[in-house]
Subunit: 256 residues, 2 copies
Amino acid sequence: MRRRPGAAGESREEGGELETRRDRLRAATVREISGTARRILVEEGPEAVTLRAIAREMGMTAPALYRYFGSHRELLRHLVGDLFSELTGELRGALEKVPPGDMGGKFLAVSRQFRSWSLAHPREYALLFGAPVRGAEDTDEADFADERAREFAWTFMDLFLELWKKKPFPVPADEDIDPALREQLRHYRDDVLGIDLPLGVIRQFLKCWIRLQGGVSLEVFGHLKFALDDAAPMFELMLTEVSTDLALPYRPPSAG
Amino acid sequence: MRRRPGAAGESREEGGELETRRDRLRAATVREISGTARRILVEEGPEAVTLRAIAREMGMTAPALYRYFGSHRELLRHLVGDLFSELTGELRGALEKVPPGDMGGKFLAVSRQFRSWSLAHPREYALLFGAPVRGAEDTDEADFADERAREFAWTFMDLFLELWKKKPFPVPADEDIDPALREQLRHYRDDVLGIDLPLGVIRQFLKCWIRLQGGVSLEVFGHLKFALDDAAPMFELMLTEVSTDLALPYRPPSAG
DNA sequence: CAGTTGAGTGAACGCCGTAAACTGCGAACG
DNA sequence: CGTTCGCAGTTTACGGCGTTCACTCAACTG
């Protein structure tokens, strides 16, 4: 790997080393590549995000991009990471606008913001949440995109935990959960999350998340157009039901 | 369009004309192309379904395929139509195995069969229900695939109508539905379905369908793997809730 | 039989991702 | 200072892609 001395987004191995001029230029180029890829994605769709097209727009040639990314797929994964960051930022921004104690408001705000971003960025959404690209599962190590995806997931999970702590909603006892599900929930709770909670809380979290993201996916991909021009009212209806499940008050969206 | 005298799947304009030998050979070739494309899709993934690969496997050259399909996209649309047919057939097959009066059983059977087929055919599922391919919306006329998709949708809709007629479930009155949603439902009912029903039935249908397909989409695309190895119990949990909504009895799946 | 039609081929065009060899320039070092 | 080295970037090339065009040849039609 002599030709690519440091993968993009890779943290410097020696933390104390100061940033040289070269490093800054390199980082700037990486950002320009990401930005160009993003623009092409938005304007011309996912299949137009080719190395040659990116290079062309930047006044370069395609092989030069191999100085920054090991392959086309790696570049796309980096873009995915950026998109997750952006989405996570928007969700956190929406959360901050809600008074700290208003848990129902927080839940509604973050849900609606997720839908808004998704509808406003359908091509980006497809990259993040569409059918996975083939060959992405060959490496066991988590890449930049996986890292940012984890942060994204935690944004929801954190909200849920706060919600449960501040204002517990009814959940089934561990013994009342289908054993096949129970063991999976236990594994997720103990070996992935590493927190102490009734399994029913995790179950409720997954149920809500599936309804939320499932509905948004169908809408963004156009699979509700057969019946609805605007799925917003169905989305709000779903929010009322999920809010009830979580013992949270529902409030319709503000007109703004 | 002198080079492509009849698009594949196009119905003969003169119905009474008898089928010539040429027609039969042509139809057989179309079927072989579809079958080859399908096999490549299953074995090597969607991006491997190229004209050249299909032709190669058939002992032909790529340009020959233009005798049968106007473009790569058109061939894929035809494949999508075939896949919808297959899926619809499986759903109807599952329905037939349930005693006529057992509406709850029918609902569960068709839901589970939909999930089963989807999980068993993830790549086909991605083609049918993934992010739409760009440029497919430029034509207003419905193609072969749209036609088959409509049949597929009606399989669910028919079941729902039968269910409502035989054993009405509680639905909100038209006046109690969010006006923004009400008008869309009315349009769908009157101008698309053309049937006489309370709007609440349509609303309930959409709500169920969104939960069903939304959940299956997430599972097939691997977006539940972060927490669950096997989403079957969550799917069953969803079925219990939807069954309750529809005033239908839930029964766990048979062991077989 | 001649004429037409349709299936299929081969070459070509402009894309694509990627590899290899090469050219400079800037920074680091003696 | 001059030398060296590493990195950014180019050029060229390979094989694969969808698609077009000119062509051949067999089969059907009158």
